[in-house]
Amino acid sequence: MKKAIRRLLQFDAPYTRFELRETESLGTPSFFARSRARRAKRTGEKGTLSSRLDENRDWLCECFHAKINTDLILRPFCIGADRRALAVNLNGMADDTKVADFILRPAFRMRETVGAKELPAYFRDHALSMQETELSRSREDVLRAITEGRTAILLDGTGEAILCDTRGFVSRPVGAPQNETTILGPKEAFTENIRTNVTLMRRILKRPDFVCEFRDSGGSNRTQLALAYLEGTVNPTLLNEVKRRLDTISTDMRLTVGRIEQLIEDFTYLPLPQMLKTERPDRAASAVLDGRIALLVEGCPLAGVLPITIGTLMESGEDRDMRQPVGTVVRIVRMLGALVSTYLPAYFLALALHHPGQLSSEILETVIASRAMVFLPLWMEMIFLLLVFQLVREAGLRVPGSIGHAIGIIGGLLLGQAAVSANIVSTVVLIIVALTGLGNFTIPDYSAQVAAAYYRVLLCIFATLGGLLGITLIGLCATAIMCSVKSFGVPFFTPYAPVTKHREHLLFSGKLQQRAHADDWSNTERRRV
């Protein structure tokens, strides 16, 4: 009996929730979160090429993590009869035709025999029919060339590489982002092709430690997924946990980023997203540079970024492009917008129904005069208008382009005016709901916007029931729940609670110099401290 009750109440169950402890590798942060700078040293990039082809190949495989990174193409061939060579490039970045026609074919046709030392220059001058070629002994040059989409030809016994311009990206046009529009930022968006998406990211992340690990999802459909991250920067515990969770997916559903998020997240009932869904390659690349993981799914024009914090949801793609003072003002306006959007209707209801003395005489008179002939009770009027606003918004989203804009105008102007004329709603409430709607659009993330919309209705109900007491207690519970939530082990209010060594302010945009390296809140290996 005791056992049954215990099982029913789920008491005594071990606390198994995954979390990245802030103490994991760097020790405890000091009280004021200052710390000694620590920077991991990159290895393997400096120096010159070996004269042995096998050594060079091994070195490249190590650099590009070739075992898991299937992007790297290593094409061995022979120049003339016996000179072994290796053409190296990245899949999707280099044009296959150029490599075949202007590198491999002339190499196979070459009959002359020259000494090993003279071969690179001779091969470039007499065989390669390419416009832009370069000879280099530097490993760094070779790595840069490969990540840029060029092909490096390594020749056995020479210690020198020929870097040929074979850059040729995917030909499918990449469109502009539809939902995450920016003024200062780039205007590219992900497509449905996972290879294209990887290429789009790789064009931004020109470094050898950027790894795109392809894997199949579980279930019979075997959708192709890619985990993009910086090897040596990302927290390996986090990476392993994400892989473990991806392995648990076993479904026949068509998988998208949104569905995968729901399948691998911790808190299913939380309205707030636990993964950032972005259609912008630059935003995903920025996140990867910060030490996070980007999840790409075949057939989905979005990338999922994880883990996230409340700051990530309130950050727009072009925040870092703006100058410091302007950026700060924009952020403050955005936060005010979000606060107004969430709390204004409930606060107004609480004051109007329970604490009218808190409103000044002028506002009281205006509100009372505007409600003179309205037959609905105030709370019902407010909730009705909030729902109408959601209706207009949903309708505007779902119908095709030009009609969508028209619906916004019709809903906003005509319906509002008609409702006021018909004494269904009062002008003051209409203004509050309009302000709320405007504020809601300042929240950059769509999922967070929707979450805020429903939280607002909940707050309105409790403001009606218990005035400011209801709002306070619901606000407290919501804050506590958000504080208990972890997005893939990272608490939602990081870096404020828990405090981490590097704290990027939610309101004040800091100097760009401070953002030289990755975030430290997910305990990245090469972190910004």
Partner: protein, 384 residues
């Protein structure tokens, strides 16, 4: 388990729904007045703001009154008579009838009143010389229908002219609770009556310095002050003497006084406080030093040097302060607040409470010293 928990959670909250009313179901009381009634002990008068039926209609202010045995009875009577429920949440001014204030019965009544409705202790309090209905109606005009700024105006009067004190209900309560000073409340009356009052000492003088000759929308004026001994009103000070009393309490900021010079000319002086007054009490002796800056203006040339004028103003103010204090001592009112300095000698509440400060105050000798700093010479043509 979770579902059951959620259901219980929601049910719990639904049980605890607070009582609420729509904002437009209330009528908001702006001013509250209480005075002695004719058939019953209290006559309660309220100014109620009731917005009109549509957005175009202006807000109307109505004055309603009821006689009753207590405040709650009057409140219920008025509530029953008025179509909307009365809310005191925005009440900003409390007027007490002079007859009631002189009897000292208002404190008990007010203590009860402040316990019940949504009435806030940050009201400004005035003593009404005439029937409160007349005073309230004198304030209502087409120019400012909501009466909302009257409270601010009374407060500003203290800062800008010094002819009336800015005393709130909590300050009044503090004075009544024995905090070391007596209350001094603003004095309001309508212009239709002759505003004169005899202060003990025999001299009669007008409450308001002049009388309004222009036809004005507002017929009620606030000037001078009613002084209290504990919770009982004992006398009235005119605007000039109120200003001088405020110079000693430290509440004076700026004011204008006229002085008749020995050669028969009248000079107008705008006074500003430069430092807080210094008060020292040593047994039965006290010394008060007041620091002022004076900006004199004479419409005609006067044959007086700056130093002479300074000395004259200082002597004049010291004499007047002495006269005001004597009058206040006579009625046993410590409106200047000497008790606030007397209390500093005590290191135990019991000792202070056992000590009869008022007995010593009545016979206390005070030396006033006024330091006037002339901002410019009276000959200076730039003045005004």
């Amino acid at each position: 388990m979770r579902r059951i928990g959620m259901i219980l959670f929601c049910l719990t909250l639904l049980c605890s729904c607070m009582q609420s009313k729509n904002i437009d179901e209330y009528a908001y009381v702006l001013n509250v007045g209480v005075e002695r009634g004719t058939t019953m002990p209290y006559l309660v008068t309220l100014v109620v703001s009731s917005p009109g039926g549509s957005e175009e209609t202006k807000v109307r202010n109505e004055v309603i009154s009821a006689e009753a045995m207590s405040f709650s009875e009057a409140y219920e009577t008025l509530n029953a008579a008025y179509p909307s429920r009365l809310s005191f949440a925005r009440a900003s001014l409390l007027a007490i009838g002079e007859d009631l204030a002189r009897s000292g019965e208002q404190t008990e009544f007010l203590n009860f009143a402040f316990g019940k409705p949504d009435l806030w202790p940050n009201l400004r309090v005035v003593i009404a010389k005439e029937p409160i209905r007349d005073v309230f109606e004198g304030w209502i005009s087409e120019a400012d229908p909501s009466l909302r700024r009257i409270k601010t105006a009374v407060g500003d009067l203290e800062k800008s002219s010094g002819i009336t004190p800015d005393t709130g209900y909590s300050m009044y309560l503090e004075a009544v609770s024995g905090a070391g000073f007596d209350a001094m409340l603003a004095y309001a009356g309508t212009n239709e009556y002759t505003l004169t009052e005899d202060l003990p000492g025999g001299e009669a003088y007008p409450i308001v310095g002049g009388s309004l000759l222009v036809e004005s929308l507002l017929n009620t004026s606030v000037a001078g002050s009613a002084v209290f001994d504990g919770d009982r009103m004992v006398g009235v000070l005119d605007g000039r003497h109120t200003m001088e009393t405020l110079m000693v309490t430290g509440a004076f900021r700026r004011g204008e006084l006229a002085f008749r010079l020995p050669d028969g000319y009248t000079i107008r002086v705008t006074l500003y406080r430069t430092h807080a007054p210094k008060i020292r009490i040593d047994g039965q002796q006290a010394s008060v030093t007041v620091y002022l800056e004076a900006d004199p203006y004479a419409p005609q040339t006067i044959a007086m040097e700056s130093e002479t004028l300074k000395a004259y103003l200082e002597a004049q103010l010291e004499t007047e302060l002495d006269a005001v204090l004597k009058a206040l001592q006579h009625v046993n009112s410590d409106a200047m607040g000497f008790g606030r300095y007397a209390v500093k000698r005590f290191y135990s509440a019991a000792d202070w409470e056992a000590y009869d400060w008022k007995a010593d105050y009545r016979t206390m000798r005070v030396v006033f010293e006024v330091n006037v700093m002339l901002s410019h010479s009276p000959h200076d043509p730039e003045t005004e």
